[in-house]
Amino acid sequence: MARDYWPASSRLAIDANVLSLLVVYHHCLCANVPALERGRILDEVRGRDGRDSLPPDRFDDLWQVFENATRRVVTQHVMAETLSPLRGWLKAHAEPVRKSAISLVEKFGVEEKSCPFRDLIASPADLLVLIKLGPTDAGLLRVAESIEAILISDDRDLRSTAWSRGIPAFPVRETPKLAQYPLNPRLGPRPCG
């Protein structure tokens, strides 16, 4: 079932790699960085040594999805990962990145959910993900599931686990597919907890 337009109830759960892209995109917009340079920076931030380069308008699509969502949710772990870059362009521009993140959170009302380690351990389903993928991914999946959000992530293992729990998950490359996603996806019940 294709839909005409992005629904008013669109909710996004955002992974750290994608939040980094959004923070950098926002920074580039505010700093009037030319579009071609913006695309190069975003490709570098996305990593993969440029072997999986995205067309520059794919980042524009991602921004539109973010801008027009009604809820944008991350976890404290995701925020911490994004704001503590370890290498590359993000590390070299850590201060403007943090300023941009602050502005992004304030301007677009990004919700930051907590997901304590102990809560993850208490749920057998979350515990499995915690062991397999780590606390950031386990927490994000738990939050995405609880608010019936669509997950955007460039992490294949995370997406695969998300789908196995009934959470629709897309990489940045496939952002346009979000426009065709069923209007009211029926999400299955949480496997546990």
Binding site: D4, L36, R51, Q64, P171, A179
Partner: protein, 235 residues
């Protein structure tokens, strides 16, 4: 070329280190930029932006390279002047297309027929689509911006926007009415001019990319420098 005193053979002025730098800082970005350009040109999306009065993603080749790599491009071209000619052709093509799109956009805004369609859509949309007309334009807030954006879609041959664009509903419903404006003889000629420029640029892109790939392959084999040194898995 220098002459080696030992065997009398000419030694190239550049070696594997410089070739590696050309691969990583010039060929990589140039070919990627040309590939993106080809994709836009195939869709006849000229990436014209009314608020910049410029093409956003079709640009002179050097602009596809990081600033720090442009000296390497100049160095490379000093040894391969034939490629400079192809780059000049490409750059001329982007400038010509940009000028044509700008004139096309201005002609649309000056067209009484465009105004007529705009006025009827502005009156009808709030009833048919249930909501304020301005709500379809996101951060844009003035009538000039609304008209500019819709005219931009016509210039760029945007038939439909993905659903997550604020204009998606409006454009889905009314794009055909707006596209009918282009049947006016005065506007049809602008559209044909843009198509012709786009086609010319497309040919220049293919020619330049092909020549760059040939040079890259020749240099790789001649200096035993691999085209790609690291591979990572990609989704």
């Amino acid at each position: 070329m220098k002459t080696s005193p030992k065997n009398g053979r000419k030694k190239p002025l550049y070696g594997p280190n410089i070739v590696r730098a050309w691969f990583d800082t010039v060929f990589h970005y140039a070919l990627r930029g040309l590939e993106h350009e080809r994709n836009f040109l195939e869709r006849r999306n000229w990436t014209y932006r009314f608020h910049l009065d410029a093409l956003e993603y079709l640009a002179p080749l050097a602009e596809h390279l990081p600033g720090s790599a442009r000296d390497n491009l100049e160095q490379f071209l000093s040894f391969f002047p034939a490629i400079r000619i192809l780059i000049d052709e490409h750059n001329y093509g982007t400038a010509r297309l940009a000028r044509t799109c700008s004139e096309f956009h201005a002609a649309l805004l000056a067209s009484p027929r465009f105004d007529e369609v705009y006025a009827s859509v502005e009156a009808e949309a709030p009833v048919k689509l249930d909501g304020e007309f301005r709500s379809h334009f996101g951060a844009f807030s003035t009538k000039d911006h609304f008209r500019g954006l819709l005219a931009e879609y016509l210039v760029n041959n945007i038939r439909e926007n993905p659903g997550y664009y604020t204009t998606a509903r409006l454009w889905k419903r009314y794009s055909e009415q707006f596209f009918s404006v282009l049947d006016e003889p005065g506007l049809a000629s602008h559209r044909q001019a843009a198509d012709a420029c786009g086609h010319g640029l497309s040919e220049a892109v293919v020619k330049l990319a092909g020549r760059l790939k040939e040079s890259r392959s020749d240099l790789s084999l001649k200096f035993d420098v691999p085209i790609a040194v690291e591979m990572t898995s990609a989704d």
